[in-house]
């Protein structure tokens, strides 16, 4: 258990900026997830933490000790790679105990700790197998075993579940959570899957093009996305957006969209004339029979283009005039493409982002 600090960390590959002014302080036992689109610098940041990549500028410290110039093996960290990086010629036992043997621990101590780790991960029967004889999920567990057996100060995971099928991924996600609750080791976890990020994280770090967009609990980043990027990244199906200009006539405010349609906004606090992106989540759109919204609601109409029944809910893609919007409906009603539907959205669930900066207003 240790605190991890990154201060003003930059990473350049030649002239390519991979990570830019990265500042983050990770608390002891915290589970922090880096999430963001491909190429945003998640792995690079993690690899700098591990010491596999030099820091161009800035400082990294683990447990209060500056580690910029410390060799990976002396940082007391363990890392799980996306492709697991199991040693193909060693069996499961040797794979897990490889790090302990480097420390020249006594044989019985190695055996004890390895068996313990194997037990935790349910690998007891597989110790004599080689990685080539394991399923994806089992390989993933061995990779975890190799990390936990060393009892490091920090776990680093780089997309450890991305090679598993959906069902197994779900299961391993839960195991991951249980494991963390059990060992309480400070964890940095990289993924590009926002569902994984939301379910696992104490805090999420959303990255985009090398910089941090927002750091917050899953609840915070979902409810108060700091930027249009975060808003569009977190949540599934993704948030809907309407671009336009805020107009006021008397007491009522409205959004004049680029395509000319006008949306009445109940009590919005944005100054008149501002160019904004208005965001609202599919799950906050309630199907309504009347065009006139209840107090404190906004109404949006659209004609259905795609109907996706999912069993417990139906995802409706509609053409709303200003663009495509996606709504969710939970209920028995059946829909046809071409049908016109109306949604009401609570005004306090609307998000406004400055069109130029993308920042939340």
């Amino acid at each position: 258990m240790a605190e991890v600090r990154l201060e003003g960390v930059h990473k350049l590959f030649g002239s390519v900026v991979a990570v830019e002014d990265f500042n983050l302080s990770i608390g002891s036992s915290e589970f922090v997830v880096f999430v963001g689109p491909s190429g945003c610098g998640k792995s690079t940041t993690l690899r700098m933490l591990a010491g596999l990549e030099d820091v161009t500028s800035g400082s990294i410290s683990i447990d209060g000790r500056a580690v910029n110039n410390v060799h990976p093996k002396d940082r007391d960290i363990a890392m799980v790679f996306q492709n697991y990086a199991l040693y193909p010629h060693l069996n499961v036992f040797d794979n897990i105990s490889f790090g302990l043997r480097a420390k020249r621990l006594p044989k019985d101590e190695i055996a004890k700790r390895t068996n313990e780790a194997a037990e935790i991960l349910g690998l007891g029967d597989l110790l004599k197998r080689r990685p080539g004889e394991l399923s994806g999920g089992q390989k993933q567990r061995v990779a975890m075993g190799r990390a936990i057996v060393r009892k490091p100060k920090v776990f680093l995971f780089d997309e450890p579940l991305s090679n598993l099928d959906a069902k197994l991924r779900h299961k391993m996600r839960a195991e991951m959570k249980i494991l963390h609750q059990r060992v309480q080791t400070t964890t940095v976890y990289v993924t590009h899957d926002q569902v994984e990020a939301m379910t696992l994280a104490d805090r999420i770090v959303i990255m985009n093009e090398g910089h941090i967009e927002q750091v917050g609990t899953p609840d915070e980043v979902y409810k108060h996305p700091a930027s249009q990027f975060v808003a569009s990244f977190i949540g599934s199906p993704a948030m809907n957006f309407a671009t336009g200009r805020i107009e006021a006539s008397g007491k009522t405010m409205s959004l004049r969209t680029d395509s000319g349609t006008s949306l009445d906004l109940a009590g919005c606090g944005v100054a008149e004339g501002t160019m904004v992106q208005l965001g609202f989540r599919p799950e906050h759109m309630e199907l309504a029979d009347t065009a006139k919204p209840a107090r404190g609601h906004v109404s949006i109409a659209g004609s259905i283009t795609v109907v996706e029944p999912m069993g417990h809910e139906t995802v409706l893609t509609c053409d709303a005039g200003f663009g495509e919007i996606v709504g969710k409906y939970e209920g028995e009603r059946r829909f046809q493409p071409g049908e016109t539907v109306k949604f009401h959205i609570r005004a306090d669930r609307l998000h406004y982002f400055d069109l130029k900066t993308g920042l939340r207003i």
Partner: protein, 282 residues
């Protein structure tokens, strides 16, 4: 191996092609094997019968073998060859893979230049190097020593290149994982990288060993003392100044082939895989 099986399975299906292929293989086999058959048969012939084209000798004799094993230094040469080839092969396996690994997995200034320099040694024929080697050996007193025979082949550009290519195909993550696991760079090479390129190592070992076993020109030049001769040099020494004792030469050649034959039979699997891996002709 599975590729080979797949190829075989495909051949099974293509009937007419199969006939042609087998015919060609058979002819090729005959061409390859005939000299060896004559070598073996000549070794059982007497001096008078040597130039007769019979495969089965009229009066088979073991005299040649008795002569070679008792009257010549053949066993000594065999041990010399064995020692030089083994030592040289061990050295090549160690150093070529160490350098190949460094070139494949470490990024350092001048890496490309070093690599090109090593590659370019492949373009220099042995014949050109023999004179400098000889002058070197003479000034260092390496003439008539095992070291003198072996030193030019203790590291090879080809082996370095081959090993580099194989190490390049190892995923970096394996090395990084071992680094995080706390092993030194040398230990990572030895414990992780080397075991994973065993097929390449065995191919290199076999080619290098056989190359040394049959090497002639350099050992001939660097040795004068019959006690230091390697097998090919020793066999050549049976040729007198005015006459050729072909039956003796053939017998010695037969004996010299035995160890390689043995190695081949034992390591057949590795050799075939090695040839397929390296894309080389044996």
């Amino acid at each position: 191996m599975s590729d080979l099986n797949a190829t075989m399975a495909r051949l099974e299906r293509a009937r007419p092609g199969k006939v042609i292929l087998w015919t060609l293989l058979f002819l090729g086999g005959v061409v390859m094997i005939t000299p060896i058959v004559f070598m073996a048969s000549t070794s059982f012939k007497t001096g008078q019968e040597v130039f007769e084209l019979s495969v089965i000798p009229d009066r088979p004799t073991l005299e040649n073998y008795v002569f070679i094993l008792q009257e010549s230094k053949f066993m000594r040469w065999m041990l010399n060859s064995l020692w030089v080839a083994t030592f040289s092969t061990a050295s090549v396996l160690f150093f070529d893979s160490l350098v190949g690994y460094t070139l494949a997995k470490f990024d350092f200034r001048g890496r490309q230049i070093v690599f090109i320099a090593i590659l370019s040694t492949l373009m220099i024929p042995t014949e050109m190097l023999i004179i400098p080697w000889y002058m070197m050996s003479r000034s260092f007193g390496w003439i008539d020593t095992y070291w003198g025979i072996a030193f030019p082949g203790l590291m090879t550009g080809f082996g370095t290149f081959l090993m580099r290519q194989f190490f390049m195909s190892l995923p970096d993550e394996l090395i990084e994982a071992a680094r995080i696991d706390g092993w030194s760079e040398f230990a990572i090479w030895w414990r992780i990288a080397m075991p994973l390129v065993i097929p390449a190592l065995s191919a290199l070992a076999i080619f290098h060993f056989l190359g040394n076993w049959t090497a002639f020109i350099w050992p001939l030049i660097v040795t004068n003392d019959p006690d230091i001769y390697t097998i090919p040099v020793g066999i050549a020494s049976f040729n007198g100044e005015f006459q050729m004792d072909w039956e003796i030469v053939m017998t010695a050649s037969c004996l010299a082939t035995l160890p390689t034959l043995l190695v081949f039979l034992l390591l057949q699997k590795f050799i075939i895989r090695g040839i397929m891996l390296a894309g080389l002709k044996g």
